[in-house]
Subunit: 178 residues, 2 copies
Amino acid sequence: MRAPWTPLGTTNVYRRGKLTLREDTWRAPDGVEHVYPVLAAGVTVGVLPFVDDDRVLLIGQHRHLLREVSWELPGGGALPGEDPLAAAQRELREEGGYRAGELTYLTRFWPANAYLDELAYCYVGRGLTVDPLPADDDEFIERRIVPITEAVRMALAGDITEGISKMTILHWAAAARR
Amino acid sequence: MRAPWTPLGTTNVYRRGKLTLREDTWRAPDGVEHVYPVLAAGVTVGVLPFVDDDRVLLIGQHRHLLREVSWELPGGGALPGEDPLAAAQRELREEGGYRAGELTYLTRFWPANAYLDELAYCYVGRGLTVDPLPADDDEFIERRIVPITEAVRMALAGDITEGISKMTILHWAAAARR
């Protein structure tokens, strides 16, 4: 039987706000040690919010890496100790201005499992009522309501490029059509 | 008209291998300055390789963040200056052991556009012939051939959790069913 991967230790090398960079050291099955940098971001959530049977809410915000406004689903990072479902409700209220009467778990995934310690949870929201919370101080948010067919078209055509939003919409579309 | 977001500068704070951590400073529309940490990884690729009309190749490798074997599509980071399409062919040969006679661009997206400077390109490979390249020295790879319907089921059920693989498969499924 081949030797397993063995964790040898971890060292924090940087921190700002909720983001930490650490170095994890592992011994590979052939005995060689490898050091892997890991950016730790924790739990992130996204919500596909149906305002009625056929239409969903998208939000637009400036993304500094893209240097333009990105159209996305409401979502963001969970607070320390916050349940993913509670984070989804809070982000929907902060960014979308709505509370969901029903939040259904759709899927979860690792956006970049080689160097980003972040697990993304995707939800579908229904039964929306207006119930806003103040947004983060660096968020300047636009909102659009579009047919779900248009959101799927945008995800397939590359008009929605943010990973969690695109995954949530395409998972919903692929599951709905099975 | 609202003032735009203005980039004020960038500073590298860490580097190991192909990964760099930098701090980007921006002035928000309200005049307040924000510093955003960014992990720069560059271009990453994934390939959905059809070995015949109905079956695709998956690879399994240990992922230190998950502490277990993750079933994924062949893929990985592009080399400096390497074209995404060339990177897809190279990763398919290194991890999958095949060359594709035809590589079709499917989509691209930002896996984590708030703090990871990484753009992921997704391809479909067909016309495969055996033509392996040596893998990276920390990769110990298993291979499985499954029906595409099983790969879609695995992506929907959460048996495939790596973002680029899951996105590529679900994008293919959602587009195929329109």
